[in-house]
Amino acid sequence: MISIQGQGASAGVICGPLYLFRRAPAPIAVDVAEDPGAEWARFKAAQTRASAQLEALAQRALERAGQEAADLFLTHQLLAEDLDLEDSVQRMIRLDGMNAEAAVDATSRHFMQFFLEMEDPYMRARAADVQDVGRRLLNILAGRVEAQLDLEFPVVLVSDDLAPSETIQLDKSKILAFVTEAGSITSHTAILARTMGIPAVVAAEGILHPQYEGQEVFVDGETGEVFLNADEPTRAALLAKRETQQRLALLLHDLKGKPNETLDGRMVQVACNISGPEDLPAVKANEGNGIGLLRSELLYLQTASCPTEEEQFCFYRNILEQMEGKLVVIRTLDIGADKQVDYLQLPAEENPALGMRAVRLCLTRPDLFRVQLRALYRASACGRMAILLPMIVSPWEFEACRDLCCEVQAELAAEGIPFDKNVPLGVMIETPAAAMMSEELAQLADFFSVGTNDLTQYTLACDRQSGVLDRFYDPHHPAVLRMIHRAADSIHRYGKWIGICGELAGDQQLTELFLAMGIDELSVSPNQVLPLRGTIRSIDTRLNRERLLDELGL
Protein backbone atom coordinates (compact mmCIF):
# COMPACT_ATOMS: atom_id res chain seq x y z
CA MET A 1 0.00 0.00 0.00
CA ILE A 2 1.26 3.48 -0.87
CA SER A 3 -0.06 6.29 1.27
CA ILE A 4 0.43 9.96 0.51
CA GLN A 5 -0.39 12.62 3.06
CA GLY A 6 -1.73 15.82 1.58
CA GLN A 7 -3.98 18.51 2.97
CA GLY A 8 -7.71 17.87 3.09
CA ALA A 9 -9.48 20.60 1.08
CA SER A 10 -13.00 19.24 0.66
CA ALA A 11 -14.39 16.48 2.86
CA GLY A 12 -15.62 13.09 1.68
CA VAL A 13 -14.25 9.63 0.99
CA ILE A 14 -14.21 8.20 -2.49
CA CYS A 15 -12.58 5.44 -4.48
CA GLY A 16 -11.95 5.42 -8.22
CA PRO A 17 -9.39 5.10 -11.00
CA LEU A 18 -6.62 7.67 -10.96
CA TYR A 19 -6.41 9.88 -14.04
CA LEU A 20 -3.44 12.16 -14.66
CA PHE A 21 -4.47 15.48 -16.14
CA ARG A 22 -1.65 16.30 -18.50
CA ARG A 23 -1.00 19.79 -19.58
CA ALA A 24 1.71 19.88 -22.15
CA PRO A 25 4.17 22.55 -21.12
CA ALA A 26 4.57 25.02 -23.93
CA PRO A 27 8.18 24.81 -25.05
CA ILE A 28 9.39 27.94 -26.73
CA ALA A 29 11.90 27.65 -29.48
CA VAL A 30 13.36 31.10 -29.85
CA ASP A 31 14.25 30.57 -33.44
CA VAL A 32 15.33 33.21 -35.81
CA ALA A 33 12.46 33.17 -38.22
CA GLU A 34 13.40 32.66 -41.85
CA ASP A 35 10.34 34.37 -43.15
CA PRO A 36 8.71 37.05 -41.00
CA GLY A 37 5.73 37.16 -43.35
CA ALA A 38 5.05 33.46 -42.77
CA GLU A 39 5.42 33.84 -38.99
CA TRP A 40 2.98 36.72 -39.00
CA ALA A 41 0.50 34.64 -40.98
CA ARG A 42 0.91 31.78 -38.47
CA PHE A 43 0.18 34.16 -35.62
CA LYS A 44 -2.89 35.58 -37.33
CA ALA A 45 -4.22 32.07 -37.98
CA ALA A 46 -3.63 31.08 -34.35
CA GLN A 47 -5.36 34.25 -33.18
CA THR A 48 -8.44 33.53 -35.33
CA ARG A 49 -8.53 29.97 -34.02
CA ALA A 50 -8.19 31.08 -30.39
CA SER A 51 -10.95 33.60 -30.85
CA ALA A 52 -13.30 30.97 -32.31
CA GLN A 53 -12.45 28.50 -29.52
CA LEU A 54 -13.11 31.10 -26.84
CA GLU A 55 -16.41 32.10 -28.38
CA ALA A 56 -17.52 28.47 -28.38
CA LEU A 57 -16.33 28.06 -24.80
CA ALA A 58 -18.28 31.16 -23.77
CA GLN A 59 -21.39 29.66 -25.30
CA ARG A 60 -20.82 26.39 -23.47
CA ALA A 61 -20.08 28.17 -20.21
CA LEU A 62 -23.27 30.19 -20.57
CA GLU A 63 -25.33 27.01 -20.88
CA ARG A 64 -23.58 25.15 -18.07
CA ALA A 65 -22.21 27.63 -15.59
CA GLY A 66 -23.95 30.96 -16.19
CA GLN A 67 -23.15 34.46 -17.35
CA GLU A 68 -20.18 35.05 -15.07
CA ALA A 69 -18.28 32.06 -16.42
CA ALA A 70 -19.16 33.07 -19.97
CA ASP A 71 -17.84 36.59 -19.36
CA LEU A 72 -14.46 35.14 -18.43
CA PHE A 73 -14.14 33.60 -21.88
CA LEU A 74 -15.47 36.69 -23.66
CA THR A 75 -12.79 38.73 -21.91
CA HIS A 76 -10.21 36.16 -22.98
CA GLN A 77 -11.46 36.46 -26.53
CA LEU A 78 -10.98 40.22 -26.51
CA LEU A 79 -7.53 39.77 -24.97
CA ALA A 80 -6.54 37.37 -27.76
CA GLU A 81 -7.69 39.95 -30.31
CA ASP A 82 -6.19 42.92 -28.46
CA LEU A 83 -4.57 45.44 -30.81
CA ASP A 84 -1.67 46.24 -28.48
CA LEU A 85 -0.92 42.54 -28.13
CA GLU A 86 -1.03 42.22 -31.89
CA ASP A 87 1.26 45.24 -32.37
CA SER A 88 3.77 43.86 -29.94
CA VAL A 89 3.83 40.43 -31.61
CA GLN A 90 4.16 42.04 -35.03
CA ARG A 91 7.06 44.22 -33.90
CA MET A 92 8.90 41.26 -32.44
CA ILE A 93 8.42 39.20 -35.59
CA ARG A 94 9.30 41.96 -38.07
CA LEU A 95 11.97 43.88 -36.16
CA ASP A 96 13.49 41.34 -33.77
CA GLY A 97 13.24 38.41 -36.15
CA MET A 98 11.42 36.19 -33.67
CA ASN A 99 9.20 33.30 -34.64
CA ALA A 100 5.51 33.44 -33.71
CA GLU A 101 5.92 31.33 -30.54
CA ALA A 102 8.72 33.46 -29.12
CA ALA A 103 6.89 36.67 -29.94
CA VAL A 104 3.65 35.48 -28.26
CA ASP A 105 5.55 34.27 -25.22
CA ALA A 106 7.52 37.51 -24.77
CA THR A 107 4.42 39.61 -25.42
CA SER A 108 2.22 37.80 -22.90
CA ARG A 109 4.98 38.06 -20.29
CA HIS A 110 5.22 41.76 -20.96
CA PHE A 111 1.49 42.34 -20.48
CA MET A 112 1.35 40.07 -17.42
CA GLN A 113 3.99 42.30 -15.88
CA PHE A 114 1.95 45.35 -16.85
CA PHE A 115 -1.05 44.07 -14.89
CA LEU A 116 1.03 42.79 -11.97
CA GLU A 117 2.34 46.31 -11.43
CA MET A 118 -1.11 47.85 -11.14
CA GLU A 119 -2.38 49.14 -7.81
CA ASP A 120 -5.82 47.56 -7.76
CA PRO A 121 -5.74 43.89 -6.66
CA TYR A 122 -8.54 43.12 -9.13
CA MET A 123 -6.38 44.38 -11.98
CA ARG A 124 -3.32 42.50 -10.68
CA ALA A 125 -5.33 39.29 -10.81
CA ARG A 126 -5.93 39.87 -14.56
CA ALA A 127 -2.30 38.81 -15.15
CA ALA A 128 -3.55 35.21 -14.81
CA ASP A 129 -6.00 35.84 -17.67
CA VAL A 130 -3.25 37.17 -19.91
CA GLN A 131 -1.17 34.10 -19.09
CA ASP A 132 -4.10 31.82 -19.85
CA VAL A 133 -4.63 33.46 -23.26
CA GLY A 134 -0.91 33.33 -24.04
CA ARG A 135 -0.87 29.62 -23.28
CA ARG A 136 -3.84 29.05 -25.54
CA LEU A 137 -2.13 30.82 -28.45
CA LEU A 138 1.08 28.86 -27.89
CA ASN A 139 -0.81 25.56 -27.78
CA ILE A 140 -2.49 26.36 -31.06
CA LEU A 141 0.81 27.35 -32.66
CA ALA A 142 2.35 24.08 -31.51
CA GLY A 143 -0.63 22.12 -32.84
CA ARG A 144 -1.54 20.89 -29.37
CA VAL A 145 -5.07 20.35 -28.23
CA GLU A 146 -5.98 22.21 -25.04
CA ALA A 147 -6.05 19.77 -22.18
CA GLN A 148 -9.50 18.26 -21.99
CA LEU A 149 -11.20 15.52 -20.15
CA ASP A 150 -12.96 13.18 -22.53
CA LEU A 151 -13.71 10.09 -20.55
CA GLU A 152 -16.25 7.34 -20.67
CA PHE A 153 -16.26 6.79 -16.90
CA PRO A 154 -15.72 8.89 -13.76
CA VAL A 155 -12.18 9.31 -12.41
CA VAL A 156 -10.14 10.78 -9.59
CA LEU A 157 -8.47 13.70 -11.34
CA VAL A 158 -4.82 14.25 -10.45
CA SER A 159 -2.89 17.34 -11.57
CA ASP A 160 -0.37 19.89 -10.37
CA ASP A 161 -3.03 22.58 -10.07
CA LEU A 162 -5.78 23.76 -12.40
CA ALA A 163 -6.23 27.19 -14.00
CA PRO A 164 -9.71 28.77 -13.84
CA SER A 165 -10.34 28.28 -17.55
CA GLU A 166 -9.35 24.62 -17.29
CA THR A 167 -11.79 23.83 -14.51
CA ILE A 168 -14.66 25.34 -16.50
CA GLN A 169 -13.79 23.18 -19.50
CA LEU A 170 -13.92 19.96 -17.49
CA ASP A 171 -16.94 17.71 -17.75
CA LYS A 172 -17.74 17.69 -14.05
CA SER A 173 -19.99 14.65 -14.19
CA LYS A 174 -16.84 12.61 -14.85
CA ILE A 175 -14.90 13.76 -11.79
CA LEU A 176 -15.11 11.86 -8.51
CA ALA A 177 -12.46 13.85 -6.66
CA PHE A 178 -9.51 16.19 -7.18
CA VAL A 179 -6.00 15.52 -5.96
CA THR A 180 -3.41 18.18 -6.71
CA GLU A 181 0.30 18.14 -6.03
CA ALA A 182 0.46 21.92 -5.64
CA GLY A 183 -2.23 24.28 -4.45
CA SER A 184 -3.67 25.18 -1.09
CA ILE A 185 -7.09 24.90 0.52
CA THR A 186 -7.91 28.30 -0.96
CA SER A 187 -6.75 27.47 -4.48
CA HIS A 188 -9.22 27.51 -7.30
CA THR A 189 -9.45 23.72 -7.51
CA ALA A 190 -10.18 23.40 -3.80
CA ILE A 191 -12.95 25.99 -3.98
CA LEU A 192 -14.46 24.28 -7.00
CA ALA A 193 -14.42 20.92 -5.21
CA ARG A 194 -16.22 22.36 -2.21
CA THR A 195 -18.80 23.97 -4.49
CA MET A 196 -19.34 20.69 -6.30
CA GLY A 197 -19.40 18.84 -2.98
CA ILE A 198 -16.79 16.31 -4.03
CA PRO A 199 -13.65 15.30 -2.08
CA ALA A 200 -10.37 17.11 -2.71
CA VAL A 201 -6.84 16.80 -1.39
CA VAL A 202 -4.21 19.44 -2.14
CA ALA A 203 -0.44 19.56 -1.56
CA ALA A 204 -0.26 15.79 -2.09
CA GLU A 205 3.43 15.58 -2.79
CA GLY A 206 4.44 12.67 -5.00
CA ILE A 207 1.01 11.94 -6.45
CA LEU A 208 2.00 12.98 -9.99
CA HIS A 209 3.66 9.68 -10.81
CA PRO A 210 3.05 8.26 -14.31
CA GLN A 211 2.96 4.73 -12.89
CA TYR A 212 -0.11 5.52 -10.81
CA GLU A 213 -2.21 6.21 -13.89
CA GLY A 214 -5.31 4.04 -14.00
CA GLN A 215 -4.73 2.50 -10.57
CA GLU A 216 -7.47 2.36 -7.98
CA VAL A 217 -7.06 5.17 -5.48
CA PHE A 218 -8.82 6.02 -2.21
CA VAL A 219 -9.15 9.70 -1.34
CA ASP A 220 -10.12 11.02 2.08
CA GLY A 221 -10.79 14.73 1.66
CA GLU A 222 -11.16 15.26 5.39
CA THR A 223 -7.82 13.88 6.60
CA GLY A 224 -5.97 14.62 3.36
CA GLU A 225 -4.90 10.99 2.95
CA VAL A 226 -4.56 9.31 -0.44
CA PHE A 227 -4.04 5.54 -0.73
CA LEU A 228 -2.97 3.44 -3.68
CA ASN A 229 -3.23 -0.33 -3.42
CA ALA A 230 -5.08 0.07 -0.14
CA ASP A 231 -4.80 -2.99 2.13
CA GLU A 232 -7.91 -4.76 3.41
CA PRO A 233 -8.25 -3.02 6.84
CA THR A 234 -7.72 0.46 5.34
CA ARG A 235 -10.18 -0.30 2.57
CA ALA A 236 -12.82 -1.54 5.03
CA ALA A 237 -12.35 1.46 7.32
CA LEU A 238 -12.65 3.94 4.45
CA LEU A 239 -15.70 2.24 2.97
CA ALA A 240 -17.40 2.32 6.39
CA LYS A 241 -16.57 6.01 6.73
CA ARG A 242 -17.98 6.62 3.27
CA GLU A 243 -21.22 4.89 4.18
CA THR A 244 -21.66 6.95 7.36
CA GLN A 245 -21.03 10.13 5.40
CA GLN A 246 -23.49 9.18 2.72
CA ARG A 247 -26.19 8.44 5.27
CA LEU A 248 -25.60 11.84 6.87
CA ALA A 249 -25.55 13.54 3.47
CA LEU A 250 -28.90 11.98 2.63
CA LEU A 251 -30.33 13.20 5.90
CA LEU A 252 -29.05 16.71 5.25
CA HIS A 253 -30.27 16.62 1.69
CA ASP A 254 -33.80 16.21 3.05
CA LEU A 255 -33.35 19.42 5.03
CA LYS A 256 -32.35 21.48 2.02
CA GLY A 257 -34.78 24.16 0.96
CA LYS A 258 -36.66 23.93 4.25
CA PRO A 259 -36.96 26.89 6.64
CA ASN A 260 -35.16 27.11 10.01
CA GLU A 261 -38.50 26.94 11.77
CA THR A 262 -39.36 25.40 15.11
CA LEU A 263 -42.38 23.10 15.57
CA ASP A 264 -44.30 26.03 17.03
CA GLY A 265 -43.54 28.22 14.04
CA ARG A 266 -40.68 30.40 15.27
CA MET A 267 -38.15 31.31 12.58
CA VAL A 268 -34.47 31.38 13.53
CA GLN A 269 -31.74 33.00 11.45
CA VAL A 270 -28.87 30.60 10.84
CA ALA A 271 -25.95 32.50 9.34
CA CYS A 272 -22.32 31.56 8.70
CA ASN A 273 -18.93 32.47 10.13
CA ILE A 274 -16.34 33.00 7.40
CA SER A 275 -12.82 34.31 6.94
CA GLY A 276 -12.93 35.26 3.28
CA PRO A 277 -14.56 34.86 -0.12
CA GLU A 278 -13.23 31.30 -0.47
CA ASP A 279 -15.84 30.18 2.07
CA LEU A 280 -18.79 31.63 0.15
CA PRO A 281 -19.54 28.63 -2.10
CA ALA A 282 -19.95 26.53 1.05
CA VAL A 283 -22.27 29.18 2.54
CA LYS A 284 -24.45 29.04 -0.55
CA ALA A 285 -24.37 25.26 -0.83
CA ASN A 286 -25.47 24.93 2.80
CA GLU A 287 -28.08 27.67 2.54
CA GLY A 288 -26.68 30.07 5.15
CA ASN A 289 -29.12 32.97 5.74
CA GLY A 290 -26.24 35.43 5.54
CA ILE A 291 -22.86 36.06 7.12
CA GLY A 292 -23.07 36.37 10.91
CA LEU A 293 -19.36 36.94 11.29
CA LEU A 294 -16.71 37.87 8.75
CA ARG A 295 -13.40 37.92 10.58
CA SER A 296 -11.58 40.80 8.92
CA GLU A 297 -8.28 40.06 10.65
CA LEU A 298 -7.41 37.42 8.06
CA LEU A 299 -6.73 40.31 5.70
CA TYR A 300 -4.15 41.60 8.16
CA LEU A 301 -2.67 38.24 9.11
CA GLN A 302 -1.98 37.17 5.54
CA THR A 303 0.11 40.15 4.49
CA ALA A 304 3.55 41.50 5.28
CA SER A 305 2.30 45.07 5.65
CA CYS A 306 -0.97 46.76 6.47
CA PRO A 307 -3.57 46.09 3.76
CA THR A 308 -4.41 49.33 1.93
CA GLU A 309 -7.86 50.88 1.82
CA GLU A 310 -8.19 49.74 -1.78
CA GLU A 311 -7.27 46.13 -0.99
CA GLN A 312 -9.70 46.02 1.90
CA PHE A 313 -12.45 47.67 -0.12
CA CYS A 314 -12.09 45.06 -2.89
CA PHE A 315 -12.12 42.25 -0.33
CA TYR A 316 -15.33 43.44 1.36
CA ARG A 317 -17.04 44.42 -1.88
CA ASN A 318 -16.42 41.00 -3.37
CA ILE A 319 -18.10 39.29 -0.42
CA LEU A 320 -21.03 41.72 -0.24
CA GLU A 321 -21.71 41.38 -3.95
CA GLN A 322 -21.59 37.61 -3.85
CA MET A 323 -24.03 37.53 -0.93
CA GLU A 324 -26.56 39.34 -3.13
CA GLY A 325 -28.29 41.52 -0.58
CA LYS A 326 -28.16 39.08 2.35
CA LEU A 327 -26.83 40.60 5.57
CA VAL A 328 -23.04 40.44 5.98
CA VAL A 329 -21.79 41.25 9.49
CA ILE A 330 -18.15 42.32 9.35
CA ARG A 331 -16.17 42.38 12.57
CA THR A 332 -13.56 45.12 12.66
CA LEU A 333 -9.92 44.34 13.25
CA ASP A 334 -9.47 41.88 16.12
CA ILE A 335 -5.70 41.70 16.36
CA GLY A 336 -3.80 41.19 19.60
CA ALA A 337 -4.00 38.39 22.18
CA ASP A 338 -3.48 35.13 20.26
CA LYS A 339 -3.39 36.87 16.85
CA GLN A 340 -0.29 38.98 16.33
CA VAL A 341 1.23 40.63 13.27
CA ASP A 342 4.83 41.83 13.10
CA TYR A 343 4.35 44.96 11.03
CA LEU A 344 2.20 46.69 13.65
CA GLN A 345 5.18 46.48 16.00
CA LEU A 346 3.07 46.15 19.10
CA PRO A 347 5.07 46.01 22.30
CA ALA A 348 5.27 42.58 23.90
CA GLU A 349 2.83 42.20 26.76
CA GLU A 350 2.95 40.17 29.89
CA ASN A 351 -0.65 39.10 29.40
CA PRO A 352 -1.81 39.69 25.82
CA ALA A 353 -5.34 38.31 26.34
CA LEU A 354 -5.89 41.14 28.80
CA GLY A 355 -3.91 43.60 26.73
CA MET A 356 -3.89 45.81 23.68
CA ARG A 357 -6.33 43.94 21.45
CA ALA A 358 -9.24 44.54 19.12
CA VAL A 359 -11.08 47.84 19.61
CA ARG A 360 -8.52 48.97 22.19
CA LEU A 361 -5.85 48.84 19.49
CA CYS A 362 -8.17 50.57 17.02
CA LEU A 363 -8.90 53.46 19.39
CA THR A 364 -5.21 53.78 20.27
CA ARG A 365 -4.19 53.74 16.60
CA PRO A 366 -7.05 55.58 14.87
CA ASP A 367 -4.87 55.88 11.72
CA LEU A 368 -5.15 52.12 11.37
CA PHE A 369 -8.86 52.00 12.20
CA ARG A 370 -9.75 54.83 9.81
CA VAL A 371 -8.38 52.92 6.81
CA GLN A 372 -10.59 49.95 7.65
CA LEU A 373 -13.67 52.08 8.31
CA ARG A 374 -13.24 53.95 5.02
CA ALA A 375 -12.94 50.66 3.15
CA LEU A 376 -15.98 49.27 4.97
CA TYR A 377 -18.23 52.26 4.30
CA ARG A 378 -17.15 52.43 0.66
CA ALA A 379 -18.04 48.75 0.30
CA SER A 380 -21.37 49.29 2.07
CA ALA A 381 -22.78 50.62 -1.19
CA CYS A 382 -22.38 47.16 -2.74
CA GLY A 383 -24.67 45.10 -0.54
CA ARG A 384 -26.23 44.82 2.91
CA MET A 385 -23.58 45.28 5.56
CA ALA A 386 -23.37 45.59 9.34
CA ILE A 387 -20.26 46.50 11.36
CA LEU A 388 -19.47 44.60 14.54
CA LEU A 389 -17.07 46.01 17.17
CA PRO A 390 -15.07 43.48 19.20
CA MET A 391 -14.04 43.77 22.89
CA ILE A 392 -16.23 46.70 23.87
CA VAL A 393 -16.44 46.84 27.69
CA SER A 394 -17.61 50.43 28.23
CA PRO A 395 -20.20 52.66 26.57
CA TRP A 396 -17.56 55.37 25.91
CA GLU A 397 -15.62 52.95 23.72
CA PHE A 398 -18.68 52.40 21.58
CA GLU A 399 -19.28 56.16 21.40
CA ALA A 400 -15.67 56.79 20.36
CA CYS A 401 -15.98 54.20 17.57
CA ARG A 402 -19.31 55.64 16.48
CA ASP A 403 -17.76 59.13 16.32
CA LEU A 404 -14.98 57.81 14.09
CA CYS A 405 -17.58 56.15 11.87
CA CYS A 406 -19.43 59.48 11.58
CA GLU A 407 -16.21 61.29 10.65
CA VAL A 408 -15.44 58.74 7.98
CA GLN A 409 -18.98 59.01 6.61
CA ALA A 410 -18.67 62.80 6.46
CA GLU A 411 -15.35 62.45 4.62
CA LEU A 412 -16.82 60.10 2.05
CA ALA A 413 -19.85 62.32 1.58
CA ALA A 414 -17.56 65.31 0.97
CA GLU A 415 -15.62 63.31 -1.61
CA GLY A 416 -18.83 62.25 -3.34
CA ILE A 417 -18.17 58.56 -2.71
CA PRO A 418 -21.36 56.50 -2.32
CA PHE A 419 -22.01 54.57 0.90
CA ASP A 420 -24.91 53.21 2.91
CA LYS A 421 -25.86 55.76 5.57
CA ASN A 422 -27.72 53.18 7.64
CA VAL A 423 -25.09 50.53 8.27
CA PRO A 424 -26.04 48.97 11.64
CA LEU A 425 -23.27 49.23 14.24
CA GLY A 426 -23.11 46.30 16.66
CA VAL A 427 -21.20 45.17 19.72
CA MET A 428 -19.67 41.80 20.58
CA ILE A 429 -20.63 40.38 23.95
CA GLU A 430 -17.40 38.60 24.80
CA THR A 431 -16.48 39.86 28.25
CA PRO A 432 -18.38 39.70 31.56
CA ALA A 433 -18.24 43.52 31.47
CA ALA A 434 -20.18 43.71 28.19
CA ALA A 435 -22.78 41.25 29.52
CA MET A 436 -23.18 43.22 32.77
CA MET A 437 -23.34 46.51 30.83
CA SER A 438 -25.76 45.15 28.24
CA GLU A 439 -28.53 47.40 29.56
CA GLU A 440 -26.49 50.55 28.78
CA LEU A 441 -25.01 49.17 25.58
CA ALA A 442 -28.45 48.14 24.31
CA GLN A 443 -29.44 51.81 24.31
CA LEU A 444 -26.49 52.64 22.04
CA ALA A 445 -25.76 49.81 19.63
CA ASP A 446 -28.02 48.49 16.86
CA PHE A 447 -27.37 44.78 17.44
CA PHE A 448 -25.27 42.32 19.43
CA SER A 449 -23.33 39.13 18.86
CA VAL A 450 -22.02 36.82 21.56
CA GLY A 451 -18.47 35.54 21.11
CA THR A 452 -18.69 32.49 23.32
CA ASN A 453 -15.02 31.45 23.15
CA ASP A 454 -13.77 34.68 24.67
CA LEU A 455 -16.78 35.02 26.95
CA THR A 456 -15.97 31.59 28.40
CA GLN A 457 -12.27 32.36 28.77
CA TYR A 458 -12.85 35.73 30.46
CA THR A 459 -15.75 34.57 32.65
CA LEU A 460 -14.01 31.44 33.90
CA ALA A 461 -10.51 32.97 33.94
CA CYS A 462 -9.39 30.02 31.84
CA ASP A 463 -6.89 30.47 29.00
CA ARG A 464 -8.48 28.87 25.94
CA GLN A 465 -5.06 28.16 24.43
CA SER A 466 -3.91 26.17 27.42
CA GLY A 467 -3.91 22.43 26.89
CA VAL A 468 -3.95 21.51 30.58
CA LEU A 469 -7.09 23.41 31.59
CA ASP A 470 -9.50 21.34 29.51
CA ARG A 471 -11.70 20.14 32.34
CA PHE A 472 -11.90 23.64 33.82
CA TYR A 473 -12.66 25.36 30.53
CA ASP A 474 -16.36 24.51 30.39
CA PRO A 475 -18.41 26.55 27.92
CA HIS A 476 -21.60 25.00 29.40
CA HIS A 477 -20.76 26.55 32.77
CA PRO A 478 -23.86 28.24 34.23
CA ALA A 479 -21.86 31.43 34.70
CA VAL A 480 -21.35 31.67 30.92
CA LEU A 481 -24.95 30.78 30.08
CA ARG A 482 -26.35 33.23 32.64
CA MET A 483 -24.23 36.00 31.09
CA ILE A 484 -25.81 35.27 27.71
CA HIS A 485 -29.30 35.13 29.20
CA ARG A 486 -28.86 38.42 31.02
CA ALA A 487 -27.54 40.13 27.88
CA ALA A 488 -30.38 38.73 25.75
CA ASP A 489 -32.99 40.02 28.20
CA SER A 490 -31.74 43.59 28.35
CA ILE A 491 -31.07 43.74 24.61
CA HIS A 492 -34.59 42.59 23.80
CA ARG A 493 -36.00 45.12 26.23
CA TYR A 494 -34.64 47.82 23.95
CA GLY A 495 -35.92 46.12 20.81
CA LYS A 496 -32.47 45.19 19.50
CA TRP A 497 -31.44 41.75 18.22
CA ILE A 498 -28.82 39.36 19.55
CA GLY A 499 -26.96 36.55 17.83
CA ILE A 500 -24.34 34.03 18.87
CA CYS A 501 -21.30 33.63 16.65
CA GLY A 502 -18.92 31.58 18.82
CA GLU A 503 -18.43 27.81 18.91
CA LEU A 504 -21.46 27.39 21.16
CA ALA A 505 -23.82 28.56 18.42
CA GLY A 506 -23.39 25.20 16.69
CA ASP A 507 -23.62 23.17 19.90
CA GLN A 508 -26.90 21.33 19.45
CA GLN A 509 -27.15 20.44 23.12
CA LEU A 510 -27.75 24.13 23.78
CA THR A 511 -30.00 25.03 20.86
CA GLU A 512 -33.20 24.60 22.84
CA LEU A 513 -31.86 26.75 25.70
CA PHE A 514 -30.75 29.48 23.31
CA LEU A 515 -34.17 29.54 21.70
CA ALA A 516 -35.74 29.72 25.17
CA MET A 517 -33.60 32.80 25.84
CA GLY A 518 -34.93 34.28 22.62
CA ILE A 519 -31.62 34.36 20.74
CA ASP A 520 -32.47 35.72 17.28
CA GLU A 521 -29.60 34.39 15.20
CA LEU A 522 -27.07 31.57 15.36
CA SER A 523 -23.94 31.93 13.23
CA VAL A 524 -21.94 28.77 12.57
CA SER A 525 -19.44 27.36 10.09
CA PRO A 526 -21.19 26.52 6.81
CA ASN A 527 -21.19 22.74 7.31
CA GLN A 528 -23.10 23.14 10.59
CA VAL A 529 -26.05 25.01 9.06
CA LEU A 530 -28.05 21.97 7.96
CA PRO A 531 -27.46 19.86 11.10
CA LEU A 532 -28.54 22.88 13.16
CA ARG A 533 -31.61 23.29 10.97
CA GLY A 534 -32.50 19.68 11.76
CA THR A 535 -32.34 20.42 15.49
CA ILE A 536 -34.30 23.67 15.24
CA ARG A 537 -37.04 21.90 13.31
CA SER A 538 -37.38 19.30 16.09
CA ILE A 539 -37.85 21.85 18.90
CA ASP A 540 -41.12 23.16 20.29
CA THR A 541 -40.06 26.26 22.21
CA ARG A 542 -43.29 26.27 24.29
CA LEU A 543 -42.62 22.92 25.92
CA ASN A 544 -39.57 23.37 28.13
CA ARG A 545 -38.98 27.09 28.15
CA GLU A 546 -39.86 27.77 31.80
CA ARG A 547 -38.03 24.71 33.09
CA LEU A 548 -34.86 25.41 31.10
CA LEU A 549 -34.65 29.02 32.25
CA ASP A 550 -35.45 28.01 35.84
CA GLU A 551 -32.67 25.45 35.81
CA LEU A 552 -30.28 28.06 34.52
CA GLY A 553 -31.25 30.21 37.49
CA LEU A 554 -30.90 33.97 37.52
Partner: protein
Protein backbone atom coordinates in the same frame (compact mmCIF):
# COMPACT_ATOMS: atom_id res chain seq x y z
CA UNK B 1 -14.52 66.33 -33.30
CA UNK B 2 -17.05 65.62 -30.54
CA UNK B 3 -16.23 65.53 -26.85
CA UNK B 4 -18.22 64.50 -23.79
CA UNK B 5 -17.57 63.31 -20.25
CA UNK B 6 -18.90 60.41 -18.26
CA UNK B 7 -18.50 59.69 -14.52
CA UNK B 8 -17.97 56.05 -13.62
CA UNK B 9 -20.63 54.55 -11.33
CA UNK B 10 -19.47 50.92 -11.39
CA UNK B 11 -17.89 50.31 -7.96
CA UNK B 12 -15.01 48.31 -9.49
CA UNK B 13 -14.21 51.04 -11.99
CA UNK B 14 -13.36 50.38 -15.63
CA UNK B 15 -12.82 46.62 -15.25
CA UNK B 16 -12.79 43.84 -17.84
CA UNK B 17 -16.54 43.52 -18.33
CA UNK B 18 -17.49 47.16 -19.03
CA UNK B 19 -14.24 47.64 -20.98
CA UNK B 20 -15.30 44.71 -23.18
CA UNK B 21 -18.77 46.17 -23.75
CA UNK B 22 -17.28 49.55 -24.59
CA UNK B 23 -14.88 47.97 -27.06
CA UNK B 24 -17.59 45.99 -28.86
CA UNK B 25 -19.71 49.11 -29.11
CA UNK B 26 -16.79 51.22 -30.40
CA UNK B 27 -16.19 48.68 -33.18
CA UNK B 28 -19.51 49.64 -34.74
CA UNK B 29 -18.28 53.11 -35.74
CA UNK B 30 -15.85 54.53 -38.27
CA UNK B 31 -14.74 57.24 -35.86
CA UNK B 32 -11.71 56.99 -33.63
CA UNK B 33 -12.79 57.00 -29.98
CA UNK B 34 -10.27 58.04 -27.35
CA UNK B 35 -10.86 57.81 -23.62
CA UNK B 36 -8.94 59.85 -21.09
CA UNK B 37 -8.82 59.23 -17.34
CA UNK B 38 -8.15 61.93 -14.69
CA UNK B 39 -4.65 60.52 -14.19
CA UNK B 40 -3.86 61.63 -17.74
CA UNK B 41 -3.76 58.18 -19.28
CA UNK B 42 -5.47 57.85 -22.62
CA UNK B 43 -6.65 54.73 -24.40
CA UNK B 44 -8.19 53.94 -27.75
CA UNK B 45 -11.60 52.39 -27.09
CA UNK B 46 -10.67 49.50 -29.39
CA UNK B 47 -7.86 48.38 -27.05
CA UNK B 48 -8.97 46.27 -24.11
CA UNK B 49 -5.72 46.10 -22.17
CA UNK B 50 -5.12 49.82 -22.62
CA UNK B 51 -8.63 50.60 -21.35
CA UNK B 52 -8.17 48.41 -18.28
CA UNK B 53 -4.64 49.72 -17.81
CA UNK B 54 -5.89 53.26 -17.26
CA UNK B 55 -6.88 52.16 -13.78
CA UNK B 56 -10.01 54.33 -13.87
CA UNK B 57 -12.01 54.07 -10.65
CA UNK B 58 -15.54 54.74 -9.50
CA UNK B 59 -16.55 58.43 -9.44
CA UNK B 60 -13.73 59.37 -11.80
CA UNK B 61 -14.64 61.39 -14.83
CA UNK B 62 -13.66 60.02 -18.22
CA UNK B 63 -13.30 62.33 -21.22
CA UNK B 64 -14.41 60.78 -24.51
CA UNK B 65 -13.11 62.27 -27.75
CA UNK B 66 -14.79 61.04 -30.94
CA UNK B 67 -13.42 61.96 -34.34
CA UNK B 68 -14.47 60.73 -37.77
CA UNK B 69 -17.25 60.65 -40.34
CA UNK B 70 -19.91 59.32 -37.96
CA UNK B 71 -18.72 61.24 -34.87
CA UNK B 72 -22.09 62.89 -34.30
CA UNK B 73 -23.96 59.59 -34.14
CA UNK B 74 -21.15 57.71 -32.33
CA UNK B 75 -20.85 60.28 -29.54
CA UNK B 76 -24.60 60.47 -28.99
CA UNK B 77 -25.11 56.71 -28.94
CA UNK B 78 -22.08 56.06 -26.79
CA UNK B 79 -23.12 58.67 -24.23
CA UNK B 80 -26.52 56.98 -24.02
CA UNK B 81 -24.99 53.51 -23.74
CA UNK B 82 -22.40 54.18 -21.00
CA UNK B 83 -24.85 54.34 -18.05
CA UNK B 84 -25.94 50.78 -18.90
CA UNK B 85 -22.45 49.32 -18.60
CA UNK B 86 -20.25 51.52 -16.44
Amino acid sequence: MKQFTYTITDPIGLHARPAGFLLRKAKAYQSTILVQAPNGRTANALKLMALMGMGAKVNEELVFTVEGEDEEKAAAELAAYLPEIL
